[in-house]
Symmetry: C2
Subunit: 334 residues, 2 copies
Amino acid sequence: MPELRRDPIVGRWVIISTERGVRPRDFIITPPPQTSPVSLCPFCPGQELLTPKEILAYRPQGSEPNSPGWSVRVVPNKFPALHVEGELGREGLGMYDRMNGVGAHEVIIETPRHQETLAEMPVKQIEDLLWTYRDRLLDLKKDPRFRYILIFKNRGAAAGATLEHTHSQLIALPVVPTAAEQEMEGCRQHYEDKERCLYCDIVRQELADGARIVAENPEFVTLTPYAPRFPFEMWILPKRHAAYYEESQKAQFEFMAPILSETLRRMDRVLARPAYNMMLHTSPLHESSGPFYHWHVEIIPKLTQVAGFEWGTGFYINPVSPEESAKFLREAEL
Amino acid sequence: MPELRRDPIVGRWVIISTERGVRPRDFIITPPPQTSPVSLCPFCPGQELLTPKEILAYRPQGSEPNSPGWSVRVVPNKFPALHVEGELGREGLGMYDRMNGVGAHEVIIETPRHQETLAEMPVKQIEDLLWTYRDRLLDLKKDPRFRYILIFKNRGAAAGATLEHTHSQLIALPVVPTAAEQEMEGCRQHYEDKERCLYCDIVRQELADGARIVAENPEFVTLTPYAPRFPFEMWILPKRHAAYYEESQKAQFEFMAPILSETLRRMDRVLARPAYNMMLHTSPLHESSGPFYHWHVEIIPKLTQVAGFEWGTGFYINPVSPEESAKFLREAEL
């Protein structure tokens, strides 16, 4: 069973997940280049039995579970960072706190087509993926052990991906992580001061200013944030206030799919298909953050190294201003 | 002039430093492998004019500034993230906050010998380096514009190093960064509750337990922390309570040098000379953190990728427990 441990100084939780049995030599021997020939890819149709049994799949022709014929497919991670069975088992060890590593770790296979990227797939396929995210959030929200769910995507080995076939991941946690706490706290304070949502204020100021806008449609905007940690960091925000991704309506998904597609295509065009991470930030579960929190997507291309200065301070040095990043992205020919 | 910008949500500052004129293509074209032949190394003796003029050098034979004959040499960074001249110029831009990028960015060349690593150098040379850190902290502390100083080291391209010749860096900041604030806050709360230093309590519990101890001498201990973000993460702590590195006495430096050397040699042995980051965490300037803060060094070998889950949550998944890491390090044959 993996273990959750809390750093007694800054309160940050970590997952100690030793089940793969990693030894020092695994870090020394350079891993072979990441290639997954279609014939061996566990995410390709026909290889359904190479993954754990599916949790959910969209099957337009009504085919059997764990067989081909799906358009999006969700399976448990074969090497989960957390286990879905078990009690939380909180305990103190002297001055330290620990919990059993109870949670969910799922893989969302975005398409049956091995070569397709999220940027290149039909907008309708992206819309299905967005509905899948919602379905999994609504289902896992019923489990009272979970307090936060992160849906994220790693593309490229430099961004932490270990399989090439395009996929997203979901991790449900029994605690609200510090990064989410900090965003919630900033939003709560702003709301207490002004009775307005902080992200709504940002969207208004950015749309009025224009210098950091990358893409826009009636329901969504993509922008480079005012104080980005990384070059070409982007946020996609709904223009209308909404704290919970999973409460989005059909119209939202219809407008979210094309702007996500456009944003990724602009990034791929300007930076020649970089490795990147994408994270869906939505409200913690069972918290009434409706008036003050605002869900959004963050995208960070993996272009620079995080080094001693960043680890030591939490400060980031960014060699490209967000105004310049936005200009390159906005002017890219698609 | 670089610019400091504050994220309005979580309060994190970033440095927008565009003076190297980085363009998208700089991220696309793969940089050539990092090699610096001795003949072109700006940190080697005889090439002193390739760096900005020195700020400090230890010259045992009393040679002239900016000429050979030094054992440790401190110079301004040629491409500084912050500029030492100028006013802070704080201002608001709508809902955003900015400051001029005023600060210091220095390079500490640890040895005149191009091939030598910090782990391999004579202990006396490491002691000189520790004194150099102190001298620079004491000098920069006089500048009332600065509120925090980080001394750090990146070894290897994967850890962000751009030059091979072994060196440390120093950045003085006009604000206390969030990572330091969080550590201070945790320590302050513990002190208010218990009238004891949190790190002193950790040192006591770890020495009694023993499972996470890597190395020890009369004044210092190296341990793997209870909740490490990364495999083989290590902290070096003074056993006696001390908030300010720069107030250390001769005996502390005499015991710090050999344990730093031993710690790095153990890491190099177990992990075959990995890329790593090392950070000196000391008290913010002009704050009376004497009773509750405890300076220390953090070392993180660069073995895993930080990916979407970590960026999205601030949580870390660590595939090696600190007890196992400590055992490998402790039992390494030196």
